[in-house]
């Protein structure tokens, strides 16, 4: 008996105006920790956003756990890019994490205690319980990234789509975040994350999707994250450092 994949994408094609960004992507994510890797403009964020229905697609569809998104929305968590919002916004860290629970609350009145506690618990998981009442603009970049992680966790989902969870954070924060992601996966959930640092892909992730407008390679790190596939994904654009990683860093 096979359980449906957390995310299965078939023939997904997405364009901005007349510029096609994703061509006929067909891909199944296995359970576990999966990286989406590719050069700038490869359509990594677009893939997540199209799967979530945030941008229209020309063709194709995304199924979550074998169902349409509308049916299983509460099983799918999302972590957008940190740069996509205004961090000067009047809200505390706790306010932002509570946002993930809005679909479970009435739209007015106080946040129920149970929901507040769930949000606080998520902040605790990322080590920010002390800063719950701090305005988000007064947090460091790494702390802001962890607030977004806590907000995703507080959705209490079975699959998390994360757009660059490691963007612009220091090494300590990166370790803290990967530790949280491993705990999430250890509890039987799945994470799909857009990732930029080729050198850490093998140590952080179980599976990979190499993307460059098209799905170049996908599967376990061992089978799919090969120097050849990386070179194909990055084409002529692989820089010296990435070249070194692709050739020497992986075995």
């Amino acid at each position: 008996m096979t359980t449906p994949a957390p995310l299965a994408i078939t023939h997904l094609t997405v364009a901005y105006g007349d510029k096609t960004v994703l061509w006929d992507i067909t891909w199944q994510a296995a359970p576990g920790l999966t990286a989406i890797v590719g050069p700038n403009g490869a359509g990594k964020s677009t893939l997540l956003r199209a799967a979530l229905g945030l941008i229209p697609s020309i063709a194709g569809e995304a199924r979550f756990f074998g169902r349409g998104l509308a049916e299983v929305r509460n099983r799918v968590g999302y972590l957008p890019q940190r740069a996509s919002v205004d961090w000067d916004f009047p809200a505390t860290a706790l306010d932002v994490v509570c946002m993930s629970r809005y679909p479970r609350m009435r739209w007015w009145g106080r946040v129920p205690k149970a929901e507040r506690d769930a949000a606080l618990g998520a902040l605790e998981q990322v080590g920010l319980a002390d800063l719950a009442d701090r305005q988000i603009g007064r947090l460091s970049g790494g702390q802001q990234q962890r607030v977004f992680l806590a907000r995703a966790l507080a959705q209490d989902a079975d699959l998390y789509l994360m757009d660059e969870p490691f963007a612009a954070v220091d090494a300590a924060t990166e370790q803290a975040i990967i530790a949280v992601l491993r705990r999430v996966v250890a509890s039987g959930r799945s994470v799909i994350a857009v990732h930029h640092d080729l050198s850490t892909v093998p140590s952080y992730f179980d599976q990979v999707l190499l993307l460059n407008g098209r799905a170049v390679a996908a599967g376990s790190i061992k089978s799919a994250f090969t120097p050849d596939a990386i070179a194909r994904a990055y084409g002529g654009r692989l820089n010296v450092l990435e070249q070194a990683v692709a050739e020497g860093g992986l075995r």
């Binding site: 956003r49 979530l52 999302y78 919002v85 009047p90 306010d95 932002v96 946002m99 007015w108």
Partner: protein, 311 residues
Amino acid sequence: MTALDFLRLDLPALLAAILACGTCGLLGSFLVLRRDSLLGDALSHAVLPGIIAGFALTGARAGLPMLLGALAAALLAVVAISLVRRVARLESGAATGAVFTSFFALGLMLMEATGARSVDLDLDCVLFGQLESVVWLEAQGFGSLLDPTALAALPRQLFLLAAVATVLAGLVALLWRPLHLLCFDPDYAAAIGLPARGLELALNLMVAAAAVAAFEAVGSILVVAMLVCPAAAIRLLTDSYRAQVLGGAALGAALGALGYALAGPLPAAFGQAFSLNAAGVIGTLGGLAVAGAMLLRQLRIAPPKPAVISG
């Protein structure tokens, strides 16, 4: 100035100024938080053809048809803006600018063509409103405040303003949390299943309703000022969503009252003969409020609530 003059001339206009500016101040916070302040400008102009159409169809300056016409025009404008943005792939400022100027110009043409202009609406009214014409001639004394027949003769603009203010305040309370998320992170709102598009449309229509209700009393210049200035001033002074939204409304109402008083009644009370256009004074105070907030912020003496407006 006698008490009777105050009741007949100043009280209704003062109330109209407070309601109009308070309502615009309430919704302005959402525009400022979404970094889309000029949408208020756009919507308050784009509603003109709807107002004229409502006026032309009923042949009278009745509040409700004009409000409904304005909301229809606002809806069309919002849809047109997003269409232009998507189809022509213009950046949103250009799309907004192209749509609202066309709508406003269309409104001016309609005004000429339907003869609305010659009757009762003219350019001065569009720009500055008619705050000074909001009068309550039936007032016989303070007893009239408790007399139902006299109260029923209060200027109809007041009823419309009060009704719109009440409905909008209720809607803001009802949509308190979704609006917070919509302003912060609309994509995330959509991703977790909140009706983000619908909320956005609702918010735009609420802004349009506030603009229209305020428009006739205080004119389009002041509507724009009150949609942006109070909220922008508060934005510089607080990190709390609640203080932002409620403070925007309170500052708007306070500016309305103060501006109206400074424009005529106060100088008159001190025996001065001059009086100014109330809308102009209120709008100027709006700018001063923002400047004052900037100063306060610079001095880092941001109090929990901005109590003093230098001006």
